[in-house]
């Protein structure tokens, strides 16, 4: 293996190979045109603007997200401390919700009791009829009073 490497190195350093290497290295260089360079500059400027926009976006986004995260964390930590001790435990929440339920039940039971005593009341048609009868009788009385 090493002999092969040595062999190839020797071959590469031989006269004709070195002459070809020299010939290749001395090939005339080709300069790109001004038009090419101008096109490249344009493309690079566009890239630069895009990169700048991205940088600005992240510059704004990073502190904003950091602030939001801090605010949320503070809210989570501070809020339970701000609540009164009676409401800050799950047991207290259960008591509160039991109280509301009990109030609702009391209200419902009172309504039912009132219904049992007073009935459902007049329906709209009964209410209208009663109202017109009352009006007629009142008018009649007034006319009789005038004749007298």
């Amino acid at each position: 293996m090493n002999e092969n490497f040595k062999n190839i190195d020797e071959k590469l350093n031989s006269g004709p190979q070195q002459m070809v290497a020299h010939l290749v290295s001395s090939l005339p260089s080709e300069e790109p045109s001004m038009l090419w360079r101008s096109g490249l500059n344009e493309a690079l400027r566009a890239q630069s603007r895009k990169a700048e926009r991205r940088r600005r976006f992240f510059w704004v986004l990073r502190p904003l997200s950091l602030t939001t995260a801090c605010a949320l964390a503070a809210l989570l930590v501070v809020r339970p401390m701000m609540m009164p001790p009676s409401l800050s435990t799950p047991k207290a929440h259960a008591m509160v919700s039991n109280g509301i339920e009990r109030d609702l039940m009391d209200l419902h039971q009172n309504d039912m009791r009132a219904f049992d005593v007073g009935g459902a009341g007049l329906d709209p048609t009964e209410a209208a009829r009663t109202s017109s009868v009352t009006q007629v009788s009142w008018t009649d009385d007034s006319e009789a009073d005038l004749e007298l």
């Binding site: 092969n4 190839i8 002459m19 010939l23 290749v24 290295s25 001395s26």
Partner: protein, 208 residues
Amino acid sequence: MELCIGTALLTQRMQNDAASEAALIEKCRRQDYEAFGKFVDAYQSRVFGFVRRMVPNAEEAADVAQEVFIKAFQNFNRFDGRSSVRTWLFRIAYHLCVDRARKEDRTPDRVALVDPEEGEHIDVPDARWQPDQLAMDSELYAVVEDGVKSMSEKLRSVLLLHDREDLPYEEIAGMLNVPVGTVKSRLFLARAHLQNVVKAYLDGGEKK
């Protein structure tokens, strides 16, 4: 005494160059447009030349060369400095050329991967190989350019990266993801192919 002063000045200049290149790279990492412009100035002709020889179509080569620098600009913050910035840039260029070739499904004429005849060399008058004269022989250069274009992508990339861009074997091996021995054998075959092309031109006395 003068030699010592000259050496010291040269060393100091090299250190200054290295420091300014490091500063330039640092600015490029922060996507500084102006600094990257200087970086492009330094490397554009080398990258363009490499891509131009890897991609046959001139228009396409111009597109790929632009893409190389745009990609470099976008990803400069990922450059970790493990290799030289030149190697990193040529790595981008090489991969873009290979991607483009795959997309276009081009299969360049391949050179047989066999060792050329042992001891084969170009039988030419010595004067022909003088660099000054070679520099003037544009026809010979055209023959060499054609020879480079006619070889497979694997051989061509190694030949250009080593002999033209002066990258070390280890960095080319890392770039192409092959062992160093493979890089050396590919380089040998590529040069041998060019030897044959130049020999045929010189023997025939005309451009093939």
